[in-house]
């Protein structure tokens, strides 16, 4: 997939670029309004990560120009402004999602994957990872032909892992993804452990390989190896 990161903060831009660059992915960057505008008018992307406050202009205008030209690129707004009005404005103009800074890269990746999935799988709602098949509409998970019954959170966690396959996902990121920002149970993330244990058990009982690895007590990694 081809992604454009429009972000003026160098540290953040580099991290995102590094996180998204992997086999089969192209990740381009733009750090100012002008360079971003010229890129989006010349090339098409599967998903554009768009910062609102840019040197030289407003990210919203880039979004408007995309929509005026009927470009199909998915757009995810990343903004420091966590106001409902901004969010609604962005979504009304045609952004696909809105993520507030600061965020975990794994969360960003999961959101981008969801946008690209919605854009490109038109009609087909199947997400396949080796022997795991997920029907995104029916929210139904199968290992081979065996159905696996997952709870709402376990299902969300599995999708999150698949979107971040091959990456170490921190426990903080998992907790925030499943329980929202409001979760501040501090250092006690034991409940995540029991969640992972359950999901692993259910998948393996259905004959699935064990893809989930604990990573140094910091998080987990979903990997095919």
């Amino acid at each position: 997939m081809k992604i454009l990161v429009i972000e003026d903060e160098e540290g953040l831009r580099e991290s995102i670029e590094e996180y998204f660059t992997e086999a089969g992915n192209i990740c381009e960057t733009a750090s100012s309004y002008q360079s971003a505008l010229s890129k989006v008018s010349l090339y098409r992307y599967d998903c554009i990560l768009l910062d609102i406050t840019l040197p030289g202009g407003n990210g919203i205008d880039i979004l408007k120009s995309l929509k005026e030209n009927s470009h199909p690129d998915g757009v995810l707004i990343i903004s420091a402004k966590n106001s409902l009005d901004d969010r609604l404005e962005g979504l009304n103009i045609g952004a696909d999602d809105y993520l507030v800074k600061p965020f975990h890269l794994s969360e960003l990746k999961a959101r981008v994957s969801a946008i690209i999935r919605r854009k490109s799988y038109n009609g087909s709602n199947l997400l396949v990872f080796n022997e795991i098949t997920i029907d995104l509409l029916a929210k139904d998970v199968k290992v081979g032909t065996t159905s696996v019954k997952l709870t709402r959170k376990e299902y969300a966690l599995l999708l999150y892992f698949i979107a971040n396959k091959g990456k170490v996902v921190s426990k903080n990121a998992i907790a925030e993804h499943l329980w929202g920002d409001g979760i501040d149970m501090a250092n006690n993330f034991d409940f995540i452990y029991s969640h992972i244990k359950n999901i692993r058990k259910k998948l393996m009982e259905a004959g699935c390989n064990d893809y989930i690895q604990a990573a140094y007590g910091m998080g987990y990694k979903f990997t095919a190896q």
Partner: protein, 429 residues
């Protein structure tokens, strides 16, 4: 004591004292003048007696006029000293006053009088003369004057009281208006203190001073809020960078236990920093009433969702949850109500002991969230102030401040009680 009452009291006391003193002086002066006049009359009478004796060489016939008695008594020569005296005058009631005679069984009454003792020599005989003149008219006059004085005092008091009631109350009205405006003054509110219409300099000055002060306080408060908001905004980007760098760092793998422990600590510190920052931003936003997504909703559904959301965490801490929820329609921001519920429920979890219990009740009047925990009441009002935390709490210290502010925004009341070993938070609709 009200200013008016105090002023009235001082005023009344002064007036009474002054009037009394005036009355006494008046009385003394008039009675001095009138006595002087009586004395002159007495001297004239004495002179008449002398003239009569000189001319006729015998004593005049004593007769009794209306208010005057003259008597002669023989005395040894030189024993009488001429002087004026205050004495009594026995007045016989006349024929037309029979009813008085009958009533009092007496022939007359005593009246106060002024007398002159003098002497006269007729031939070789020496007589003492006593001329007594009734002062009853004088006394009537004085009584009359006294009554008028009392009347004037009473009238003055009456006028004073009425004036104070009617006029002073009205005069002070601007003051009370300013007071009530001050009482309504809310620093976070955009409402200004209005300029009152009145032409009294003092009140105008007071009004202006109050308006100035309110505007200055609001400005300062606004500046402070803008600063908080800007500072929090500026913090977001570096936090985002740290977060993303940490996420990138953990991809590099091969960490020792010690390194991963350090990374974990970093993660939780950054996420605390982030939550704190978000809370500050949220607080500013709520105080400025910048969240405008009010809608009709069933609070029961939200509480239900929240309970499901926290299910794993209840289980993880072995908390026993009992709840009884009635339907309750409210008109509020869904976003803020979710934050409110999340804050209250996560507090109930965080400050609970392992194996404790949580009780949630929702009815038409209130939402009650109770939890077990430390067996001691929390400081009632302090817990709602910013950055108040129980020791060892991992929270931001803003949760309850935010919760109370959210409640205030929608006209609810958030209260804390400690009853029967339960920490109880009540949202009253």
């Amino acid at each position: 004591m009200k200013l008016l009452a105090k002023y009235n009291r001082v005023n009344l006391i002064t007036i009474i004292i002054v009037m009394l003193i005036t009355g006494i002086i008046y009385y003394q002066a008039i009675s001095y003048i009138l006595t002087g006049q009586k004395d002159t009359d007495l001297v004239v009478e004495e002179q008449e007696i002398f003239d009569y004796v000189k001319l006729n060489h015998h004593l005049p016939q004593t007769f009794e006029s209306n208010d005057q008695q003259i008597s002669f008594t023989p005395a040894s020569p030189g024993s009488v000293k001429r002087e004026f005296i205050n004495t009594m005058y026995f007045k016989q009631w006349g024929q037309d006053e029979k009813h008085k005679k009958h009533k009092h069984r007496r022939e007359g009454e005593y009246e106060s009088a002024r007398g002159l003792i003098s002497s006269v020599t007729v031939g070789d005989k020496y007589y003492k003369i006593l001329i007594v003149e009734s002062k009853v008219e004088t006394e009537d006059l004085i009584r009359f004057i006294f009554l008028i004085t009392i009347g004037v005092i009473l009238l003055l008091l009456l006028v004073l009281v009425v004036t104070n009631r009617l006029i002073l109350n009205r005069l002070w009205q601007p003051f009370y208006n300013i007071m009530s405006e001050l009482r309504l003054f809310n620093i976070a509110d955009s409402k200004q203190i209005p300029k009152l219409d009145n032409n009294i300099d003092e009140f105008k000055e007071l009004n202006n001073a109050v308006i100035d002060m309110a505007a200055r306080a609001k400005n300062d408060y606004q500046d402070l809020k803008v600063f908080t908001e800007n500072a929090s905004h500026e913090l977001l980007t570096p936090i985002a960078v740290i977060n993303s760098k940490l996420d990138t760092l953990i991809q590099t793998e091969n960490f020792s236990d010690r390194q991963s422990k350090l990374l974990n600590d970093l993660y939780s510190a950054v996420s605390r920093l982030n939550r704190l920052n978000q809370s500050l931003l949220l607080l500013v936003k709520i105080e400025n009433r910048l969240v405008h997504d009010k809608q009709q909703m069933n609070l029961r559904e939200l509480v239900d969702e929240m309970i499901i959301q926290f299910e794993e965490i209840f289980n993880d801490k072995d908390l026993k949850l009992t709840y009884e929820l009635d339907d309750k329609e409210i008109y509020a921001s869904r976003y803020l109500v979710e934050i409110l519920l999340s804050n209250l429920i996560s507090n109930a979890i965080r400050h609970n002991q392992h194996g404790g219990s949580i009780i949630i009740n929702l009815n038409a009047e209130s939402l009650i969230i109770k939890n077990t925990g430390d067996n001691a009441s929390l400081p009632d009002e302090k817990i709602f102030t910013r950055f108040h935390k129980s020791s060892g709490s991992e929270g931001s210290g803003l949760g309850l401040t935010i919760s109370r502010q959210i409640c205030e925004n929608f006209g609810f009341k958030l209260e804390y009680l400690f009853e029967g070993s339960f920490h109880t938070f009540i949202v009253k609709f």
